[in-house]
């Protein structure tokens, strides 16, 4: 059986923790688990007796519920620990919290935190598995995995393969549009989509691209109309309006005119691209109100896919013995 065993790293802190084979294994496992989610009884005994802690220092009901559902469908015990705003003000450090959770017998900690690298730090302090559910402006690996899963399902299916199982994303052109600089979703997606063979174009005003982006395996395009012409999928990032105050762009109106997605922009596309958004949408800002409705369906599908992908990650990291 050892030939079947997977050799994934202990934690999922960054997409860099995954090989191409690991990434495909997660997607294929998610594909299999998605069928379970369709079954009448949505519960598997796989992680019975395991304790999973959702440690969330930032509000993110979406991500937390998704992980919670995934863990519960695998019969893990779930402890929700919402630490928003409490850690620093009450003097308990992340390290203290980590040690507390460990003594409570947590087998895995799913961490959402406002500081880049927080998951890396946590992994240095705890014996359990650490899964990064978004750290500052660094990464959000499970979001990228579910994006890749959705893209594959839509764009790599064929007559004999309804979900694209086993396929990577080679040959696909994918544009990521918006505030790349501050986006953990973008960072994880660039790494993962590249790992899976897609061609990536980043579309953003130069102020919202990090210095050093020239080292990334991507093309940069400042003209959304040009980028959308030939692309298979467009990933719209959520824009935080407070960015305006720091002179990243002049006004919401100008931003949405140059980098928003609306019906006219879609006319430039030669093929009808799949449109993704991590949600929730700022209607009228990064996506026009009328296009948003069209996108909503994929967003809802993303929610379901998110549970499957997170079940796969939990199963692969917690479902067996780690030496």
């Amino acid at each position: 059986m050892s030939d079947n065993a997977t050799a994934m790293k202990k934690h999922l802190l960054s997409i860099n923790d995954l090989t191409r084979e690991d990434a495909l294994l997660i997607l294929d496992t998610a594909d299999e688990l998605a069928r379970v989610s369709d079954a009448p009884i949505k519960k598997l005994p796989t992680l019975r007796g395991r304790t999973v802690v959702n440690l969330f220092y930032e509000d993110s009901t979406r991500t937390r519920i998704s992980f919670e559902a995934a863990a519960k469908r695998l019969s893990a015990d779930v402890i929700n620990f919402s630490a928003k705003g409490s850690s620093v003000s009450k003097g308990e450090s992340l390290k203290d919290t980590a040690l507390t959770l460990q003594s409570m017998g947590a087998d895995a900690v799913i961490l959402r935190h406002g500081a880049s690298g927080a998951a890396h730090r946590l992994a240095q302090w705890t014996n359990g598995v650490v899964i990064n559910a978004g750290d500052g402006t660094h990464e959000h690996p499970t979001q990228a995995l579910l994006d890749a899963f959705t893209i594959r399902k839509h764009l790599k299916r064929s007559s004999g393969n309804a979900t694209g199982v086993g396929e990577d994303l080679s040959g696909l052109r994918i544009s990521i549009v918006g505030d790349i600089l501050h986006s953990r979703v973008a960072r994880s997606n660039v790494l993962l989509l590249h790992l899976l063979g897609a061609k990536i174009t980043l579309v953003a005003p130069p102020t919202l691209l990090p210095v050093g982006v020239e080292e990334w395996p991507v093309e940069i395009c400042y003209d959304f109309n040009e980028a959308i012409e030939d692309c298979d999928a467009v990933m719209m990032l959520r824009l935080q309006l407070e960015r305006m105050k720091s002179a990243f762009f002049p006004s919401a109106r100008e931003y949405s005119r140059l980098f928003g997605l609306d019906r006219e922009r879609l006319l430039h596309a030669r093929k009808k691209p799949l449109i993704l958004h991590p949600g929730p949408i700022n209607r009228g800002l990064e996506i026009s109100a009328e296009s948003a409705d069209a996108v909503e369906s994929v967003i809802l599908e993303q929610v379901a896919n998110g549970v499957s992908v997170r079940m796969a990650v939990l199963y692969l990291l917690l479902g067996g013995a780690h030496e």
């Binding site: 065993a5 050799a7 688990l33 009448p40 519960k43 598997l44 695998l74 067996g320």
Partner: protein, 177 residues
């Protein structure tokens, strides 16, 4: 390594099992065959086609992955899942025959019964295996057995089949071989 069954022996055993299945179920109505990956899947397909040949009909056949229901997950690194494919008619009210290559402790079958329970409610479940090597750890027995093979604990039963291994054979080896 000691050869136990030849290719011809295996074919004969599967043919006999096919006949027994028809006989015991008084025909093929409501019959569904589910193989347990990976070799069980192929054995189920062979039995299904044999039954089909005998009875001139098409027997629904699928595959049932039991990984997520195993009780020994924590003793080894995580395993990749194999597909579960249930025939279009489902399993509710059907006569399900599980097919596996070797019956040993019974734990795999226990996991298979759990997995089955989540997919529906069959009218009855039967078990067909190519080899029964004994050493049961659970109150489970097979309805159809290709060959009963007394073994010692430390021995390993190796089943090879054409679809995976390029040939059909069953042999016994010592663990260190």
């Amino acid at each position: 390594m000691k050869a136990v069954l030849s290719s011809a022996d295996i074919t004969r055993a599967l043919t006999r099992i096919s006949h027994e299945i028809i006989e015991k179920n008084r025909g093929t109505a409501e019959l569904v065959l589910l193989g347990i990956p990976t070799r069980g899947t192929h054995l189920a397909e062979r039995i299904a086609s044999e039954i089909g040949r005998i009875d001139a009909g098409e027997i629904p056949v699928g595959t049932l992955d039991i990984t997520l229901h195993r009780d020994d997950l924590r003793s080894r690194p995580p395993r990749p899942l194999t597909p579960t494919r249930i025939p279009a008619g489902g399993i509710d009210g059907k006569r399900v025959v599980l097919v596996d290559d070797v019956l040993y402790s019974g734990r795999t079958i226990r996991a298979a019964l759990d997995a089955l329970g989540e997919l529906g409610r069959p009218a009855l479940v039967q078990l067909a295996v190519l080899i029964d090597r004994g050493h049961r750890e659970l109150p489970i027995r097979a309805d159809y057995v290709g060959k009963n093979l007394p073994t010692a604990h430390e021995e390993v039963v190796r089943v090879a089949i054409k679809e995976i291994d390029g040939e059909d054979s069953v042999s016994i080896a010592n663990a260190h071989e």
